[in-house]
Symmetry: C2
């Protein structure tokens, strides 16, 4: 049993990423029931909605699960209280300092995992006492780091500095990539884009189809002056891009971005004007599958790829 | 024997990248003699200099070797003639269309490999009749593609579309990363940054030390309006960056870039004003080693990492 399977008491070291507008109780419970670790993404949920998802998860599965919390969340106190009350066993924190909440969560017997995109932040997270690290590369969808370090380079660099279990994220949609991540030194993988294109993701069907249509080069990391985010190059991105072409500033970008773009795109299915967050690996995703099938494929492909490797 | 070892008649499927101001006959012959494939980088050589390097290689080694030619090279006709006259067995072409020279080279019994950074260009290269593809990710040093596709995502996407042998490049400085690249579907690896920090590289000793000092986040892909290039964030980069901050255009960038920046930095050792091209993985390189030791370490680490992999 590997470090990550042991830490979370799961069958396979596969974590389904917490993703805004995609990962509610339905997706998370399907993944946990299939032997991975499902995460409910709190980033797009009001506190009452999150509590509802946690309750529904518990009805759908008795397996371990977690909640992913972006630490810039406005009602963070309330979210943390709900997580403690509902005895959520595992919390993944991202986009903020692990110093703030790690000790409180751990006092309540909650395992804490911090998502980082740099070695520096991995070291800070280790100091803060987290149980594991998600090291997420430049190719990942959604919000991302400023160093632009890719999964291939980030994993061994974090591994060289950190003693904690490491979960690789960014660019992993197949068992071959899972095997690659483990060869690089990771103990498990976090998979995002592949689970967006699942039956159980709460993403809008039109967005899921757009993920299937994506090819190599369809995504871009942009809006670096605000918070870097990887998205499909749709009309909304072209609008941003034309601002960059003519010369722009943070204020103008914020104005054009406005509010609710992510919901509009990924949940309401406005492919033109919405923000469509997804990873580079969407170019390799060609179908929408049940989450349990995705977990099974990852394991089968992993074992198959392993059989093909030979000594040199 | 794997596809790449067979194609080039070498012991290990490790190619030392052709790199401006780093890879002359000394480095190439050390790598070829150690069982990999050494490439002489023609990009920084006048035709007569290249001929001299080829002749010196032949005195230093009777093993297979190649020449890397950036296809924007001004005296391309002359370079190709020299390669044919000197019976260079293998040519790697980059930064230009493979349609131009592939058939002429192949008529002269020369194996042709095209370096690409996108699936589209891999397909065009296959159509042009090349023998193999180098698929180079965003993390690689020096000139790079506009799609910013990382090694982790590019390799399986190229693999899904191309029947030719694939050589992975970008982010590979250890045997663990070599194993990862092969797990992703590559047949061999091209290693650049790690060989810059070798005794035999013709790079300036100060630049080699700077590569050793680099940490995660030390490099950046910049000058995208001209030709995207990954370099260390030194004073010269800060100058470019301040232009970007205030708003700039191609003409101004070209003016500040001027001529001979790469030579100044990497060959003459001007760490302040020179252009210091290197990959993200420089952050993991902590010593300057003999090239033969680098080849041996890659193989030892590869086999060691393979032994650690387990079925799930």
């Amino acid at each position: 049993m590997n470090k990550i399977s042991k830490l979370f008491q799961i069958k396979y070291p596969i974590i389904q990423a917490g993703m805004v507008w995609a990962s509610g109780w339905r997706l998370a419970s399907a993944v946990s029931n299939a032997g991975g670790l499902g995460l409910i993404g709190a980033g797009s949920m009001h506190p009452a909605v999150l509590r509802n998802h946690i309750k529904k998860f518990k009805k759908a599965s008795n397996k371990p699960f977690g909640v992913n919390i972006p630490l810039f969340y406005p009602q963070l106190d309330e979210i943390i209280s709900i997580i403690i009350e509902e005895k959520v066993p595992i919390v993944f924190t991202s986009a903020g300092s692990p110093r703030l909440w790690t000790s409180i969560l751990k006092e309540n017997d909650i395992k804490v995992v911090q998502v980082v995109s740099s070695v520096n932040f991995a070291l800070k997270s280790q100091d803060a006492g987290v149980d594991a690290i998600v090291a997420e590369g430049f190719e990942a969808g959604g919000h991302n780091g400023r160093e632009e370090t890719t999964t291939m380079t980030l994993i061994p660099m974090v591994k060289a500095e950190i003693d904690l279990p490491i979960i690789a994220a960014g660019g992993i949609a197949t068992g071959g990539a899972m095997l690659a991540a483990i060869a690089l030194g990771a103990d498990g993988v976090q998979v995002g884009s592949r689970f967006v294109a699942s039956n159980e993701a709460s993403s809008h069907p039109s967005f899921k189809q757009e993920v299937v249509r994506a090819v190599e080069g369809s995504t871009v990391l942009t809006l670096k002056e605000i918070t870097p985010v990887r998205m499909l190059k749709n009309s909304f991105f072209q609008k941003i891009n034309s601002l960059y072409q003519k010369g722009t500033d943070v204020e103008e970008l914020k104005l054009v971005l406005g509010k609710g773009r992510a919901k509009r795109g990924m949940f309401e299915g406005d492919l033109e004007e919405g923000e469509l967050e997804i990873g580079q690996i969407s170019g390799l995703i060609n179908d929408i599958l049940p989450a349990a099938q995705i977990v099974k494929n990852l394991i089968d492909e992993y074992n198959q790829a392993l059989r093909l490797l030979k000594r040199i």
